[in-house]
């Protein structure tokens, strides 16, 4: 009789253990996210047309508008907007960034960058061989949710040696953040 009683009691314990699952009338989940540094840029002027105001070889000018979004790391982060001429003027016979027909022919620009950015200082000379500065950002720099504005005002030497025609170059803007 005693033996039978012990066996039945053991079976009861096992059964109770199986009913104790993690199901309950409520449950809690912790939702977490790590927000890191990020950057994005949008060029609003798809094609910047450089024009000259007169017919007396005044320099060609034009403006490229952009919108940027940025978030740099608190405490030690930085950010930058740069540009580079990734495809020189073509066809041949007109202006050239890499090999101007006359020494001193330049494609230059000045910068405007809304806060929290700092615009490039003075006049910059565009290059095909390296990135040149448009703006910089410090630690914990955060743009508006919709982005902040910026622009680049171009100046291209109007050399009489250029043949008449339409010439096109490609400029690539890059934004980065740490």
């Amino acid at each position: 009789m005693k033996k039978v009683t012990h066996f039945c009691f053991l079976g009861l314990i096992v059964f109770l253990g199986k009913t104790q699952a993690q199901f309950a009338s409520t449950g809690t989940t912790t939702v977490s996210v790590t927000v890191g540094s990020e950057a994005a840029i949008q060029i609003n002027t798809a094609t910047t047309t450089l024009t000259t105001a007169a017919t007396t070889f005044a320099d060609y000018t034009g403006t490229t508008n952009l919108t940027y979004k940025i978030r740099t790391t608190q405490g030690s982060g930085t950010g930058a907007i740069t540009l580079r001429v990734t495809s020189d003027f073509s066809p041949a016979g007109g202006p050239s960034v890499a090999s101007p027909p006359t020494a001193g022919d330049l494609l230059q620009y000045t910068c405007t960058i809304a806060s929290p950015g700092t615009a490039c200082a003075g006049t910059q000379t565009a290059s095909t061989g390296s990135d040149t500065s448009v703006g910089t950002f410090g630690a914990d720099a955060r743009s508006a949710a919709a982005g902040n504005s910026g622009s680049v005002a171009w100046t291209l030497t109007n050399d009489p040696v250029y043949k008449t025609g339409t010439y096109t170059a490609t400029v690539t803007f890059t934004i980065s953040a740490t």
């Binding site: 009789m1 039978v4 009683t5 066996f7 039945c8 079976g11 009861l12 096992v14 059964f15 109770l16 699952a21 993690q22 199901f23 309950a24 009338s25 409520t26 449950g27 809690t28 989940t29 912790t30 939702v31 977490s32 996210v33 790590t34 927000v35 890191g36 540094s37 990020e38 950057a39 994005a40 979004k69 940025i70 978030r71 740099t72 790391t73 608190q74 982060g77 914990d140 955060r142 743009s143 508006a144 949710a145 982005g147 953040a177």
Partner: protein
């Protein structure tokens, strides 16, 4: 458990709750006897099943963004649940945030930054449109109608437990400060 074994044929009676519980396992845990002849008595057992509901959720959900150009943070979790409703009853699964994201400087539930959509429900109907997660405001995930049950197929759900997947989206605004943030979501199943 009523046991008349061997030399001792006296009836043993346990408390009613234990008796009912044990009755369900009677066919599995039968007394092992050595081949001797014993006398048996039978007793009818009945149980009244009432409405019930339980759920299970993962302890953690991490949201992540693809790339580094302010794509929204996303992630999903599965809620497993069991429910039984009466011929005139119903059940519902809901979720609400216990508190804002912390620490400060990150996402804000009060801005509507965190939303979710529902996949199909294994039992009942899931939410049809995107829901915003708020503190103190319950959002319905699944509603279960009358005479519903989990598992077994037929008039019950085909799977046990039933499940529903929730897909979360957290707005990735440049205004958020860098860092790690978290909040707690409370899931509740209610049965009437």
């Amino acid at each position: 458990m009523i046991c008349q074994c061997g030399r001792d044929k006296h009836l043993r009676r346990w408390s009613v709750p234990v008796a009912l519980l044990y009755a369900a396992t009677f066919v599995v845990f039968s007394c092992s006897l050595s081949g001797q002849v014993y006398g048996y008595a039978t007793q009818g057992v009945s149980v009244q099943l009432v409405s019930a509901g339980v759920l299970s959720v993962p302890a953690n959900l991490s949201l992540a963004a693809a790339g580094s150009t302010f794509n929204n943070f996303t992630g999903s979790l599965t809620v497993n649940y069991k429910a039984r409703t009466t011929p005139s009853g119903s059940a519902s699964l809901t979720v609400q945030a216990n508190s804002e994201f912390s620490p400060s400087g990150g996402p804000l539930l009060s801005n509507g930054d965190l939303t979710f959509t529902c996949g199909s429900a294994g039992l009942g109907s899931s939410c049809a449109s995107a829901q915003t997660v708020n503190t103190g405001v319950s959002r319905t995930i699944v509603t279960v109608g009358s005479n519903a049950c989990t598992g077994g197929g037929g008039s019950c759900s085909s799977s046990d437990p039933a499940s529903v997947q929730l897909s979360f989206t957290l707005a990735n605004s440049p205004q958020l400060k860098t860092g790690a943030y978290s909040t707690s979501l409370l899931f509740t199943i209610s049965v009437v």
